[in-house]
């Protein structure tokens, strides 16, 4: 909302310091986003408020002048010489403006002296230029008669700006034009401050000034309205009140300068006096109005016109003011005459009954429509008009006749019409009077600040709430213009706003600490992050929204039907909720590989899976890991080496250790399409499968444009299940430190290459029993002299007893037992 202070001053006296006023308004909830100083450049704050382009003129050296006479130009037919006086004696100006003609005199115009800055009306963009006296076709032009464009007021350069007659010659133009405009950012509950009068009420209450209640003057002199206009409301659930007035014999033309100026400052474009008046009253009072061309309403049953407020009929259409034909639904409210729709109620008028240059009689509508229905209609038609913006947030029915009379009166004054006596007022659903009871203790209970009853009353009365003490409490009558107040808490907020939030103390809660409930899952989740970061992985967070195509890159068998779809996606790339973390992670890897060699990342987040009908979708937690590039960052210490499956596995083993879990890694029974068939494992914990890890299939690498020779490793784990298992794992017992020394034995064997290393290890452990405290595989070798199809495995065994020092003989005996077991079970031979 743009609020010109010159307009606001009509309803409340303003303090000197506008910055301070703006701050007071902001703190009270009317956020002042910007202060625009017009013609007051000196007062604008440094770095300030002149970005609007038009505000850059200060109008210095421009005065109000009077045209004394207009003479023909001796050397040009299209030019004239205007003699003007602006308080310094007659001066001559050569002009081609079509509205200054030979023989004219007496117009009040804006005269720019040499040296004054005006906007260059002919330049490619509107830049300020300095006025210079110059000869035009042989006649010296001493001053410039300015157009609105040259004054920076609008884009209008169709003629010289003609000002009101009663202005005094010689007055600096800046005195007329200088203004301050507050730009307010209003929250939806502040619809009451859309109009100037609403802002004035707030300013009055906040500064302690008197709100100058507007008196609506109204001079109906024409014949009575009854018989000329009748109104029927067929759907009172959508239209609580409809008032109408008739002004006959108007002359449609431009509005006076002051009105155009105010509309422009408030952000609206002037059209003609009738339409401008409806907009002006809307900006001032908050009541959207509509003006119909009375004569163009159909009246098949007699001279009187009949307005019907009703829902649209199936298939009904209307061409709105913007020239668009709109198909209506039965939920939309119409203003109709007996032949059909003439306006989309509270949204936009119809083209057929629009006020035009030839309109003589105007029917003014001032009504109250259902905000809900109005919003639905405006949204369905994607038609956000000024009227709909207001009706959609609520307009009080009590306002309708006030604005109606104000508009009619202005039309009489500015368009020369005669107002028919009386108004039509159909008011089927009366505005509810809201009365509340407020206990001062409630104010203290909510604010933590005791406010005496009489002070509460004084504050609320400043906002026009009628207060009556009733025992300890206060009976509060909510004024009709406050649709936003419906419960005592709302009144407490009003009290707090007027006192100022800064006056409320800041305390720490006196309330005892409520019972504390731990969330182990969240704690473990943080622990997972710690472990992975210490394993060298960086955390990323990717979009939850993705596309089925991204998922299909990993698994060509996946189907779009598996996903939860967004009904109103912003783009195809973000049209479904992810089922996997890996697509987002791999996209991230690809992006980062554009500027670095090595990427090691993880993401811990949710995936979104459809559940059965009537059930909420599931959002299980997942963990994704992706590794690409060399194992170490490039340095002089090591030669670059590729990361392998075992780098990834090592991280996952470390993660499981950190969570106190034991996992098993198994070759999947069927190859998974995302992974290298020979370098994939499923992770099992306690028999439960909780994820997959492996080297990406070359096809997947290509699909994600991971253009590097080295393998890309990836894992997607069901963190929800893993954390549940970790939660269920009891705290491990401490194990006493060994009292007796250990004996080390190395064991190198040769087995068939198909035998998994883990089977060999299990056999060693089984044979080693309790004395085998630690087993480490430290060498794996294939190649000569080991026969083809065989592999050599070397283990280090740490043997230790809890109750004695193990002798060499015992250790050797145990090793022999292990060797025998390996030979028997796996056909292993000792490596010589």
């Amino acid at each position: 909302m743009r609020v010109p202070l010159s307009w606001l001053r009509e309803y409340v006296d303003l303090p000197e310091d506008i910055e301070e006023l703006a701050e007071r308004l902001t703190l009270a909830g009317l956020e002042v986003a910007k202060i625009e100083y017009l013609g007051l450049a000196a007062r604008a704050r440094e770095g300030g408020h002149e970005e609007g382009g038009r505000a850059t003129l200060d109008w210095e050296g421009i005065y109000i002048g009077e045209v004394l006479e207009v003479k023909p130009h001796p050397n040009a037919d299209k030019l004239v010489i205007a003699v003007v006086d602006y308080g310094r004696g007659p001066r001559e100006s050569v002009t081609g403006a079509p509205n200054i003609r030979v023989g004219d005199h007496g117009q009040k115009v804006a005269v720019a002296e040499p040296g004054a800055r005006i906007i260059d009306a002919y330049g490619p963009e509107p830049k300020p230029v300095k006025v210079k006296a110059a000869a035009i076709r042989g006649v010296r032009s001493e001053v410039v008669l300015c157009s609105e464009k040259e004054l920076g007021l609008s884009d209008d350069h169709s003629g010289v700006l003609i000002l009101e007659q009663d202005l005094k010659v010689g007055t600096p133009l800046s005195e007329l034009l200088q203004d301050v405009v507050l730009e307010l950012d209003l929250t939806p509950n502040l619809a009451r401050c859309f109009p100037i009068i609403g802002v004035a009420r707030e300013v009055a209450a906040l500064t302690g000034q008197r709100f100058k209640t507007p008196e609506v003057e109204w001079h109906p002199t024409g014949p009575g309205i009854s018989g000329q206009v009748e109104v029927e409301i067929w759907d009172p659930d959508l239209c609580a009140r409809y008032t109408a007035a008739l002004v006959r014999g108007v002359k449609v033309g431009p509005s006076p300068f002051w009105m155009r100026r105010r509309l422009t400052l408030a952000g609206m474009r002037p059209i003609n006096n009738i339409v401008d008046i409806t907009n002006y009253v809307m900006l001032e009072w908050g009541q959207p109005l509509h003006a119909f061309d009375y004569r163009r309403l159909h009246s098949p049953d007699g001279p009187g016109k009949r307005i019907i407020v009703r829902r649209a009929r199936p298939g009904e259409r209307i061409v709105t003011l913007d020239g668009v034909e709109r198909a209506l639904t039965e939920e939309m409210l119409l203003i109709a005459d007996p032949e059909g729709p003439i306006a989309l109620a509270g949204v936009m008028g119809g083209l057929e009954t629009e006020v035009t240059a030839s309109t003589a009689d105007v029917l003014i509508e001032s009504a109250s429509f259902s905000s809900t229905n109005n919003r639905r209609t405006a949204q369905a038609l994607r038609l956000m008009s000024e009227a709909a913006a207001r009706f959609g947030r609520g307009v009080p029915p009590e306002l309708a006749p006030l604005a109606l009379k104000r508009a009619a009166q202005l039309m009489r004054e500015l368009a020369g019409g005669e107002i028919a006596s009386g108004i039509v007022d159909v008011y089927p659903v009366k505005q509810k009077e809201v009365e509340l009871e407020l206990d001062p203790r409630e104010v203290e209970r909510l604010l933590g600040l005791a406010v005496p009853r009489d002070e509460i009353i004084a504050l609320l009365e400043r906002l026009e709430f009628a207060c009556h003490p009733q025992g300890e409490a206060i009976r509060v009558k909510v004024p009709w213009h406050r649709l936003d107040v419906s419960c005592p808490a709302d009144l407490v907020e009003e009290v707090a706003r007027l006192i100022g939030y800064d006056k409320i103390p800041a305390t720490l809660m006196a309330e005892p600490l409520p019972p504390q409930h731990r969330d182990r899952t969240l704690e473990l989740e943080e622990q997972v992050r710690e472990i992975l970061v210490s394993c060298g992985l960086s955390e990323v967070i990717t979009y939850s929204l993705t596309s089925p195509e991204a998922g299909a890159k990993l698994d060509p068998n996946s189907s779009p039907e598996d996903y939860l779809h967004i009904a109103n996606p912003l783009s195809r790339e973000r049209s479904v909720l992810r089922r996997l973390l890996l697509p987002g992670l791999l996209e991230t890897v690809a992006e980062n590989l554009k500027h670095r060699e090595r990427v090691a990342i993880f993401e811990l987040g949710r995936v979104y899976l459809p559940a059965g009908k009537g059930q909420r979708p599931r959002e299980p937690r997942r963990l994704g890991i992706a590794l690409a590039g060399p194992r170490e960052r490039l340095s002089w210490h090591v030669k670059p080496r590729a990361m392998s499956f075992f780098d990834l596995k090592g991280i996952i083993e470390e993660l499981l250790r950190g969570l106190g879990l034991e996992g098993r890694f198994e070759r999947p029974s069927r190859p998974h399409p995302s992974f290298h068939p020979g370098r994939t494992a499923k992770l099992l914990i306690g028999g439960e499968e909780v994820g997959l890890l492996g080297e990406l299939h070359p096809r997947v690498k290509e699909a994600f444009e991971l253009e590097l020779e080295w393998p890309v490793l990836a894992a997607e784990l069901d963190l929800e299940a893993i954390l549940a298992l970790a939660r269920a794992t009891p705290v491990g017992r401490y194990r006493p430190l060994p009292q007796f020394p250990a004996v080390l034995r190395d064991l190198a064997i040769v087995v068939d290459e198909a035998i998994p290393a883990e089977r060999v290890a299990q056999a060693i452990k089984a044979a080693g029993g309790e004395l085998l405290r630690e087993l480490v595989l430290f060498d794996l070798y294939q190649g000569p002299p080991i026969p083809k199809g065989k592999k050599s495995l070397a283990f280090r065994l740490r043997l230790q007893a809890e109750d004695r020092t193990l002798t060499d003989e015992e250790a050797d005996r145990l090793r022999l037992q292990i060797e025998a077991r390996l030979a028997e079970e796996l056909g292993a031979e000792l490596r010589k």
Binding site: V492, I504, S534
Partner: protein, 352 residues
């Protein structure tokens, strides 16, 4: 018969010889050769002892003493020489082992937490100090939880405050704020008092630009009890903001509007960039908004299972990415989910 004087001569000469030869020995091996030459089985000092029987008996004790002294002195000199040589050897080795200390160290591969995670942890830490605990609630919400139970009926004008992604399944949407978590946590714990922090991802139907994201994190705070006031809300938020943004910053509270709180407020901080003088970041107001808050609306308390006559509460909501943008002067919100490691790795973690 050998005379004692003759022996004395020989001892003196040998003492001289030992000293000289040790001095000339430049290595452990040479020292050993000197030792063998003097003290070995056929060494010159060893051989002196064989002279003893040839001395007059009365001179023998003194002669023995002389030779022993010679032997002890030589041994001492030998040890000193050995120690000196050892020290020299070590010194030489150390000099040979010198490295170019300006060579880069071996890279340690530690990862980094996402900056949003880092600031979330900071938020948890500050509020856990005031008794708040973390709870989670779903990201896919019902219209009822995201709006209606928060006092935002269908077609309410306030719905314009949240542009919403809807799911194809009717009634479901992506939560636009963490506030529906208030309802979940209230319904779980009513009528117990509550102090909860509700973090998570939120979504808005908005074109992604430097200033607006379709996905972001939010942290909701909720305190419900029998004596919770707006003064408490101000106190808790001020404490939080001082810890998060540092002492010495200025804050202000201004009236605002959220359908689920009454009274409502927003909290501003003096602009970090310009120190409150006015700049582009603070739109020349000198203030930047850091969070929204208010006293829980009585209808929302009822919807959560609390009697508003008995209980009051406050709620607040803030954006971790916004906090980061203010703290680090980041001018493009898209950086957070673009996941360029060159950006992410700039946040080394830890409170500051």
């Amino acid at each position: 018969m050998v005379q004692i004087e003759e022996l004395e001569q020989q001892v003196k000469a040998l003492a001289e010889e030992g000293r000289e030869r040790l001095e000339q020995a430049g290595s452990l091996e040479e020292c050993e050769a000197v030792r063998v030459a003097l003290l070995g089985r056929k060494g010159k000092i060893t051989e002196l002892f064989q002279l003893l029987p040839q001395l007059p008996p009365e001179a023998r004790p003194e002669a023995g003493k002389l030779i022993n002294t010679l032997k002890d002195q030589f041994q001492e000199a030998l040890e000193q020489r050995l120690a000196a040589l050892k020290a020299e050897t070590i010194e030489r080795r150390l000099q040979e082992e010198a490295v170019d200390v300006t060579l880069p160290g071996r890279p340690v591969a530690l990862g980094r937490l996402h900056p949003s995670t880092q600031v979330l942890r900071e938020i948890y830490r500050i509020f856990s100090g005031m008794g708040f605990q973390v709870f989670e609630s779903p990201e896919i919400e019902t219209d009822e939880h995201n709006f209606q139970l928060l006092n935002i009926p269908p077609d309410h004008p306030a719905r314009d405050m949240w542009s919403t992604f809807y799911l194809v399944e009717p009634g479901l949407l992506l939560r636009t704020h963490t506030s529906p978590g208030q309802i979940h946590v209230m319904r779980k714990f009513a009528p117990e008092p509550i102090r909860a922090i509700l973090p998570g991802k939120c979504y808005r139907y908005e074109q992604v630009t430097a200033r607006s994201e379709m996905m972001f994190h939010q942290v909701e705070g909720l305190a419900i009890g029998r004596k919770i006031t707006m003064a408490d809300l101000k106190g808790v938020l001020t404490e939080f903001a001082h810890q998060m943004f540092g002492e010495g910053r200025r804050f202000r509270f201004r009236a605002s509007y959220f359908p689920f709180t009454e009274p409502s407020l927003e909290m501003d901080m003096d602009c970090i960039l310009c120190g409150g003088r006015g700049c582009r970041v603070c739109k020349h107001t000198g203030w930047v908004e850091i969070l929204g808050a208010g006293m829980v609306h009585p209808q929302v308390l009822r919807n959560g299972g609390y009697d508003p006559q008995e209980f009051t509460g406050f709620a607040f909501g803030m954006g971790p990415e916004r906090i980061l943008m203010l703290k680090y002067n980041i001018d493009d919100i898209r950086l957070f989910f673009a996941n360029d490691l060159r950006f992410l790795e700039q946040f080394s973690g830890g409170p500051r």
